[in-house]
């Protein structure tokens, strides 16, 4: 064949692949890496207080910190002109040990208002407390920190550097993770409960009936997520269809609270994710030879036992991949809980969004994001393994 030398074809293929690889490298991988590094980077003290950093690394933590580090800190303060960076330092130190804000304000004005050696213990008594110096030393330890990651799991390092749990009042990330998993688990169970029998039904009929059942599954999949969420918002509100029907029938005398609570979130998310359960189960059921159930029955199994011993074990793979798909999608959900849920139904994504856009605490947002990402990718890896040798992927 003319012109079709293998090397040329390999090169052409590589060239065609290149733009997307570069694009995703730049705008998919890099953002994630940026977020990861934001979560673990902690450069303010090292960058803004270089002399103090050096002195802190030589300090034995036994002798008074004021003597070993004091002059270096004063020099650093006098050398710094970047007020914003100094503000970051104060915020960073204050988050490690409260009291730093007032202490540093006092120290800043004292250092800038004088020249030559300055004994900080005369500026403020608190500098005699080595706790403050240890906090500075800890912050100067490296450009990287596990502080955000630990905080994301409700842990922190004490001044001695060992990890301990935060008091329950200080943080509730573990609660939110737990809530995320509970809601996602509930949604997954609901999807199995509705999706498995529905898939069986769709697999057992033919012709227009099957088209109708599958169409009902595919239509929501095709419809905007936002539209579906809006529809549930309308259905679930106090004056919504569900409540007015129930009121009209006299079943209830007051509107049921369905919106801004857990029940509403689970209903709406089940609706959104049900297709991801039905389709994998359906495709597995369709692939099971039709004569296995009759065979089991002819061998003496009642319909129920035949289902239990034959159909169920054979379709478990579909259930597993459907469940993984639903659970994996559910833990990352943002829009539905944000619109349908109340404050106590916000899942981890909402908290990440809050840290990122609400308080610009990208370190925390990134740290929580890492955990969510790790959980998602782990689930996806299992899903991928489960489905890669058969064409089940949706």
């Amino acid at each position: 064949m003319r012109g079709g030398t293998p090397l040329r074809r390999h090169l052409a293929a590589a060239l065609m692949l290149m733009p997307l690889v570069v694009f995703l490298g730049l705008f998919f991988v890099w953002p994630i890496i940026t977020m990861l590094s934001e979560a673990v980077s902690d450069p303010v003290v090292v960058k803004t207080l270089p002399a103090t950093t050096e002195a802190a690394r030589a300090w034995d933590r036994q002798t008074p910190g004021a003597g070993a580090l004091g002059q270096a800190l004063v020099d650093d303060i006098r050398a710094t002109t970047d007020d914003q960076a100094m503000g970051d330092v104060v915020r960073r130190l204050n988050s490690a040990k409260s009291g730093f804000r007032t202490l540093m304000m006092k120290t800043l004005s004292a250092a800038r208002g004088s020249t030559g050696p300055l004994d900080l213990t005369t500026v403020d008594e608190r500098w005699k407390d080595n706790g403050y110096w240890e906090a500075i030393a800890a912050a100067a330890q490296s450009r990287y920190t596990d502080r955000n990651l630990l905080a994301a799991l409700d842990y922190a390092r004490n001044p001695q550097g060992s990890i301990e749990a935060l008091p329950p009042a200080a943080s509730n990330n573990a609660d939110i993770f737990k809530r995320t998993f509970v809601i996602s688990g509930l949604v997954t169970l609901m999807c199995i409960a509705l999706g498995y029998p529905f898939a069986m039904l769709a697999a057992s009929v033919t012709g227009w009936k099957r088209q109708l059942l599958l169409g009902a599954v595919l239509l929501p999949l095709w419809t905007s997520l936002l539209v579906r969420t809006a529809a549930w918002f309308i259905l679930l509100q106090d004056r919504g269809m569900i409540n007015s029907t129930l009121l009209g029938l006299g079943i209830i005398s007051e509107p049921l609270p369905l919106l801004f609570n857990r029940l509403g979130v689970v209903i709406a998310m089940t609706h959104v994710l049900l297709p991801f359960m039905v389709l994998p189960i359906f495709s597995v059921l369709i692939g099971i030879p039709g004569n296995l159930m009759p065979a089991a029955q002819s061998l003496g199994a009642s319909k129920l036992r035949a289902f239990w011993h034959v159909l169920l074990p054979l379709s478990l793979r579909g259930v597993a991949s459907g469940a993984l798909l639903v659970f994996m999608s559910a833990i990352g959900y943002y829009i539905t809980p944000a619109l349908i849920g109340g404050p106590r139904d916000q899942m981890i994504s909402s908290i990440i969004a809050f840290y990122a856009t609400g308080t610009a605490n990208w370190g925390m947002a990134g740290a929580l994001g890492i955990i969510l990402l790790a959980a998602t990718l782990a689930l996806y890896a299992v899903y991928h393994r489960l489905t890669s040798d058969r064409a089940l992927r949706v």
Binding site: R2, G3, H10, A13, A14, M16, L17, P19, L20, F23, L24, F27, F28, W30, P31, I32, I33, T34, M35, E38, L201, L213, A216, V217, L219, P220, W222, T223, S224, L225, L226, V227, R228, T229, A230, W232, F233, Q237, R239, G240, M241, S244, H271, L274, G332, Y334, I335, A338, L339, S349, A353, A356, T357, A365, G366, G369, L372, L373, T376, L377
Partner: protein
């Protein structure tokens, strides 16, 4: 008895799936300021609002701008990559194939936070290109999957037949491979546009007030001052979806009519 239960269950699940979509449609035509039944009277006022109120009009235009940009960028990049992945001529093809699906998997909020931080540094945050890039990342998997599927569906023997009849490789590609892959490219493009149209989360992070899309506008309207304009917007969305679905179905039927592998 058992049969009746089956039918009842089927009806229940079908209505659970379909009912919400049916409920929202008529509300787009209410003349009330409330999003609830019964509808006091028919009116076009909320559609009128959609196309005249500045925030809504702007958001529709933005969605069209961002959607078109995303469709073009994602289709070009995704189609090239799918062609490159064909025949596994590149090392680690399997890895790339899986990796190209990951934007569908990674939680949107995680990607959004990362994009916000990076895009600010790169200076593309709060710009149209920034939003288009973000949406393209999400749309890529759909294009790659669709184009790959239609390439996989091409019977090799047809290309070999063309070669045996005297066509050099680039002519085989031009006259045989590409025309047969076109339906996949088109349905990938439709998916890309639909993805962009519906995207909220990344938009929240990387778009400024000037790039507010229709979906983003709906999101904040539901959150802040729920108004029947949402139902009108939903009506547009659903009709748009049906049109896109019909296009895809048509394109698919074309694909099936053209040469398929015998199995």
């Amino acid at each position: 008895m058992f049969k009746a239960a089956r039918i009842l269950f089927g009806i229940m699940v079908v209505s659970f799936l379909i009912a919400p979509l049916l409920v929202i449609l008529p509300l787009g035509f209410t003349d009330s300021i409330f999003l609830s039944y019964p509808i006091p009277g028919f009116s076009w006022r909320w559609f009128h609002e959609l196309f005249t109120a500045d925030a809504w009009r702007r958001s529709i235009i933005n969605s069209l701008i961002v959607g078109s940009g995303t469709t073009i960028l994602a289709t070009v990049l995704g189609t090239l990559a799918a062609l490159g992945l064909r025949d596994r001529l590149v090392p680690f093809s399997g890895f790339f194939k899986t990796a190209f699906l990951l934007p569908m998997v990674v939680p949107a909020v995680v990607l959004g936070v990362g994009m916000q931080i990076l895009f600010v540094k790169l200076g593309v945050a709060y710009t149209y290109p920034g939003v288009i890039i973000a949406h393209t990342v999400l749309a890529i998997p759909f294009v790659v999957v669709n184009v790959s599927a239609s390439l996989d569906g091409i019977d090799r023997r047809i290309e070999r037949a063309a070669a045996s009849l005297g066509a050099p490789p680039h002519v085989v590609f031009q006259k045989v491979t590409l025309p047969l892959a076109i339906p996949g490219v088109l349905s990938g493009a439709v998916f890309a546009f639909a993805t962009s149209l519906d995207e909220v989360v990344l938009t929240l992070f990387v778009a400024g007030p000037n790039q507010r899309t229709l979906a983003r506008q709906m999101f904040s309207t539901i959150r802040e001052n729920i108004s029947p304009a949402i139902a009108s917007a939903a009506f547009l969305f659903i009709t748009g979806t049906i049109i896109l679905a019909l296009i895809t179905v048509y394109v698919r039927s074309q694909t099936q009519r053209s040469a398929r592998r015998p199995n």
